[in-house]
């Protein structure tokens, strides 16, 4: 063992620069792998743990007080599936408040902070005011991270044109906090809540948290049958119906992005590790070739091939071990930044814990693959016989074919010699080609990601699958909604207006899902049908790809929907999160087969170019003060919703491009540097017979450029062609089944060209050391 360590140490000492590069590559790989896997496992387990710690219920109902009666409570008490339930008080309002440098109108559930809860508890995040003011309010964590609200700040909520001023006393976290699904959940102390409740009595709701209920859509239908009719003066719309969500929907909405981000990081790291292994393979093959005489002399004094092989294993295993260990610390230093970025989208304050088991498993895996790859490569030492080795290594210098014979070649001499070199060192050229293909693949992938999330977001906005209207008006269903739609559509600033509602329906073998309901899907602006066609008749349905996978039903099959299990023909597969990852699309008539009383009320309004949605919304609020429950600025909501995703993707994109560039520099430095060293004899001979440094630099650089160009082109084209497929695979957790991100050919070409130029410049820089190769040293060494 001691002998092996001595040999390994000697090898490391001999190639300090190359060892340093390998250490850096493995350090990056270890760091990224730790970041990716800790995020993937840590965020998921954090979410699960938090869900458990907060005793989050399976289902969450919001029942307007006007509808609530003792029968509803009785329903939960008597329901055979319900194991536990709890009723709390709340206020469900549409509130306008400051958000960053603007104002935002959004649904908000104001809840009593001091009410005792067993189910669906909440918790504080970070510091909170110790002296709680009378007008204290506790906001979701995203208000701190993204919204620009700080502890002790004043917050004004405008509800029904009335301002309510609060002091931000702390930030909170609860699993059902989801701006998209139910609006922001805020807490105020009991006294403040009571005052608000008195003032906003028409917005009082009962919050029902229940465990064990399997079909909550059915429960909503049954509850609506038990519910009182709202009084004539109570606001309708949201306050006229019972709404519900479940833990699955919340989990999908809040953990999808971290899963996708960490998956991307892990995939990228696997590429780096593969590059490292190729580099090691190259290095060992070189070592054997360079040191064949040394190997021969070791063999001649009694070292076995196994011992020599194990010395390589010890050398690279040690490098992987040390670099792998060293990569753990920067991973932990960078994780909080990633956590902050993820928190902006998820609203969850995940603080990564120390994960020694994950660290050890990653380290062990890294060392194992390195040892395996090293052993498989170094084992060819057994083919080196001492005599051959001592004679100069005939075994390793076995040129079989004289490529590009100069006698017949018409190429310029430098190009001919380069081509000869490329073809003779086919393995090295192929390795370089693969490395460049892999790194350019990731770089181009990241550039496309960045372009779509930071430069041109038009395709990115389609990813959530949410209809891209400019404004949204929720009318009172009791009004003449057809007339209202015609009026809005006739507005001079509007080019189209159409109803699109979300109904909650029960789907066989799945449970309750959202149903996107329209009269005519052909006029939908955001196409979320990725295969087949949207439904046209009342017996047709498009189902989410995720549902299709779960129930193993596809286009042409029949699926049963609704409490009465009405059959529907599947005409298409959909994606996106308009109504949750698991959703279906139904025509208005189709929705009426399930709920005969269904009436469309959510109007999507599409404005002419250049029209300010915020101004339009103000106008609509005035015009339809009596008929509309909600008038929303979708441009603003989109900018807000997409920005969280976009900032994560653009950050990941930039990080991957930077690391890919760095990896290319390191790998080229390693491969080209060691090639110059390995070829110093040939270079010396060529110098002796009259080749200049520049001609040799060109000869060597051009020789490297061919595999660099081919590899970069192959990697770039593959990335461009497969980007959307990979995005869809990685985004399955967020309901993305088909991605149609913009692939800008000029951008891909520019990136590839940039990498080629970078590679060529690096190769020139590295081959510049040829000037130090002296013809005289050749004969005197």
């Amino acid at each position: 063992m001691k002998k092996l360590v001595l040999l390994a140490k000697a090898n490391v000492r001999k190639a300090k620069g190359q060892t340093a590069i390998l250490v850096m590559l493995f350090l990056i790989a270890s760091m990224m792998l730790n970041i990716g896997i800790i995020t993937l496992a840590g965020f998921g387990s954090f979410f699960e743990r938090t869900t458990e710690e907060l005793n989050t219920s399976d289902v969450y109902f919001i029942v307007p007080e006007a509808l609530f009666n003792p029968d509803i409570e009785q329903y939960f008490q008597n329901h055979s599936e319900v194991t536990e339930f709890q009723i709390n008080e709340g206020l469900q309002v549409a509130a306008t408040f400051d958000w960053r440098d603007d104002s935002l109108t959004n649904g908000m559930s104001i809840q009593n902070k001091d009410e005792v809860r067993n189910l669906s508890q909440w918790m504080y995040v970070g510091e909170r005011l110790s002296d709680v003011p009378d007008n204290a309010i506790y906001l979701p964590y995203t208000f701190d991270l993204v919204g620009g609200h700080e502890l002790g700040d004043e917050l004004t909520l405008t509800i029904d044109d009335e301002d309510f001023v609060f002091t931000v006393a702390g930030f909170t976290e609860n699993i059902y906090q989801d701006r998209m699904l139910l609006g922001d959940t805020v807490f105020v102390p009991a006294q403040g809540f009571q005052e608000l409740s008195d003032e906003l009595a028409e917005y009082r709701t009962s919050l029902i948290f229940a465990n064990g209920l399997e079909n909550y859509a059915k429960a909503v239908t049954e509850l609506m049958e038990l519910a009182d009719s709202p009084s004539a003066d109570s606001p309708e719309g949201l306050m006229s119906t019972i709404r519900a969500t479940d833990l699955n929907a919340s989990t999908e909405a809040r953990t999808g992005m971290p899963v996708m981000t960490s998956t991307m990081v892990i995939i990228f790291t696997v590429v780096i590790v593969a590059v490292c292994l190729l580099v090691i393979r190259f290095r060992i093959a070189n070592s054997i070739e360079e040191d064949v005489q040394k190997i021969g002399s070791l063999q001649s004094v009694g070292y076995t091939s196994r011992q020599i092989t194990l010395s390589f294993v010890a050398q690279y295993g040690l490098i992987a071990l040390l670099a792998g260990l060293a990569g753990i610390l920067p991973a932990y230093l960078m994780l909080p930044s990633l956590s902050d970025v993820l928190a902006q989208q998820s609203g969850l304050s995940w603080r990564p814990d120390l994960e020694p088991v994950i660290n050890l498993v990653i380290l062990a895996a890294l060392v194992f693959v390195v040892i395996a790859a090293t052993f498989l490569t170094a084992w060819k030492v057994r083919k080196v016989s001492p005599v051959q080795a001592l004679r100069g290594g005939l075994t390793t210098h076995s040129f079989k074919r004289n490529y590009v014979p100069l006698e017949r070649s018409r190429l310029p001499l430098t190009l001919a010699l380069s081509s000869k070199s490329v073809l003779q060192k086919m393995r090295q050229s192929v390795m370089l080609l693969i490395i460049l293909a892999a790194t350019s693949f990731t770089a181009v992938f990241a550039v496309i990601l960045f372009y779509n999330s930071a430069v041109d977001l038009s395709a990115f906005e389609q990813v959530p699958g949410i209809e891209r209207s400019n404004a949204l008006i929720v009318f009172d269903p009791a009004e003449d909604t057809d007339r209202l739609m015609s009026e809005v559509a006739a507005h001079e600033d509007v080019w189209m207006a159409q109803y699109m509602d979300i109904e909650w329906v029960h789907v066989e073998d799945i449970g309750t899902v959202g149903a996107i309901t329209m009269t005519d899907f052909s006029t939908k602006v955001t196409n979320n049908i990725y295969e087949g066609v949207p439904p046209r008749y009342d017996n047709e349905v498009a189902i989410a790809g995720a549902i299709s996978n779960m129930v193993d039903l596809g286009i042409g099959d029949e699926i049963r929907i609704g409490s009465d299990e009405e059959p529907f023909l599947i005409t298409g597969l959909s994606q996106g999160m308009q109504a949750g990852v698991l959703s279906v699309s139904l025509t208005q008539d189709g929705a009426r087969r399930i709920s005969p009383d269904f009436t469309q009320s959510q109007l999507m309004v599409y404005l002419n170019d250049g029209i300010d949605a915020a101004e339009f919304v103000l106008e609509m609020e005035e015009v339809y003060y009596d008929e509309a429950f909600i008038v929303g600025d979708m441009d603003e909501a989109f900018a807000e919703g997409v920005s969280g995703f976009a900032s994560i993707f653009s950050m990941v994109g930039i990080a991957i491009v930077a690391i890919a560039g760095f990896v290319i520099v390191l790998v080229l430095y390693f491969v080209l540097g060691s090639t110059v060293i390995r070829q110093r004899r040939e270079l010396g001979i060529q110098k002796a017979i009259g080749y200049t440094t520049m001609s040799l630099m060109n000869q060597m650089s051009i020789g490297f450029t061919l595999p660099i160009i081919l590899g970069t082109a192959a990697g770039s084209v593959l990335a461009a062609l497969n980007f959307n497929t990979l995005m869809a695979a990685g985004g399955a957790a967020t309901g993305l089944m088909r991605s149609e991100m913009l692939i800008n050919p000029a951008l891909v070409a520019f990136t590839a060209l940039g990498m080629i130029v970078l590679s060529y410049l690096i190769s020139l820089l590295i081959t510049w050391r040829i000037r130090k190769v002296s013809a005289y040293a050749l004969v005197t060494e």
Binding site: L406, E682, I685, Y691, T692, S774, V779
Partner: protein
């Protein structure tokens, strides 16, 4: 006619902090058409002198004039151009490019100087044939040839560009007797064809091929001996050489 002239040529190396003076103030002239042999004990500075004269290495001090042109101050790249145009090299270890066939080794040097590729190919083939290498051997890689064959190929590479002078550093040092003799015969023939040859050797048989012997010891030229043109089996030349070398302390 003077081919190379040195003036106060010195070459020093620093090794382990200590300065070693290998060549000391050499004033020397090499004549065109001569077969000059440099002899001397190990470590005397023979090879250092050869490579300084050939522009392969730069002197520490002093000047070297090649056909009246100062070459000691040329840049490395200019020296490379100088070497390709005026010098041919034959090394003890041949130093052929292992990844090229024999003919490509020759053409890789030839194409550097001449744009007329056909003429270079024809000349390469002619020279290779002259040194006794068959067409089949031209296509082989250096490692597939014997030492003698490889050295003959190296001589062809040295001659391909019609150099003014061929520098040979122990050209027979790694060869058996028969191969060594064949190589010396080629060099002799080359010289007899009007080419200048400067050869470093410590081998008496090789030295006999020269017409002028320079004896170097401790970085200084101790003496010169004019043997006259080579005549095979000439006892007179042999004795003169032995006497000279004995005088030099050989």
């Amino acid at each position: 006619m003077t081919l190379i002239k040195t003036s106060k040529l010195s070459k020093s190396f620093s090794s382990g902090g200590a300065q070693q003076h290998i060549l000391k103030n050499l004033d020397l002239e090499i004549y065109e058409g001569d077969f000059t042999v440099i002899m001397g004990p190990s470590g005397a500075g023979k090879s250092t002198l050869l490579y300084a004269l050939s522009g392969m290495d730069k002197p520490t001090l002093g000047s070297i004039q090649f056909l009246g042109q100062e070459i000691s101050k040329l840049s490395n790249d200019k020296l490379a151009v100088f070497r390709r145009e005026h010098c041919g090299f034959v090394f003890q270890q041949m130093f052929l490019l292992d990844n090229m066939s024999i003919i490509d080794n020759v053409l890789a040097a030839g194409y550097l100087v001449s744009a007329d590729r056909k003429a270079i190919v024809d000349r390469a083939k002619k020279l290779l044939t002259q040194v006794g290498l068959s067409e089949q051997e031209w296509r082989k890689f250096p490692t597939q040839l014997s030492g003698g064959e490889a050295q003959r190929a190296a001589i062809v590479r040295a001659l391909i560009n019609h150099p003014k002078v061929v520098f040979a550093d122990e050209p027979t040092g790694a060869l058996n007797l028969a191969s060594g003799k064949a190589v010396l015969d080629i060099l002799t023939q080359t010289n007899q064809n009007g080419q200048s040859v400067i050869m470093v050797t410590h081998d008496l048989r090789s030295a006999r091929r020269g017409n002028r012997i320079l004896y170097i010891s401790d970085g200084v030229i101790r003496g010169t001996c004019d043997l006259g043109h080579y005549v095979s089996g000439s006892k007179e030349r042999h004795d003169k050489l032995i006497t000279f070398l004995e005088e030099m302390g050989w």
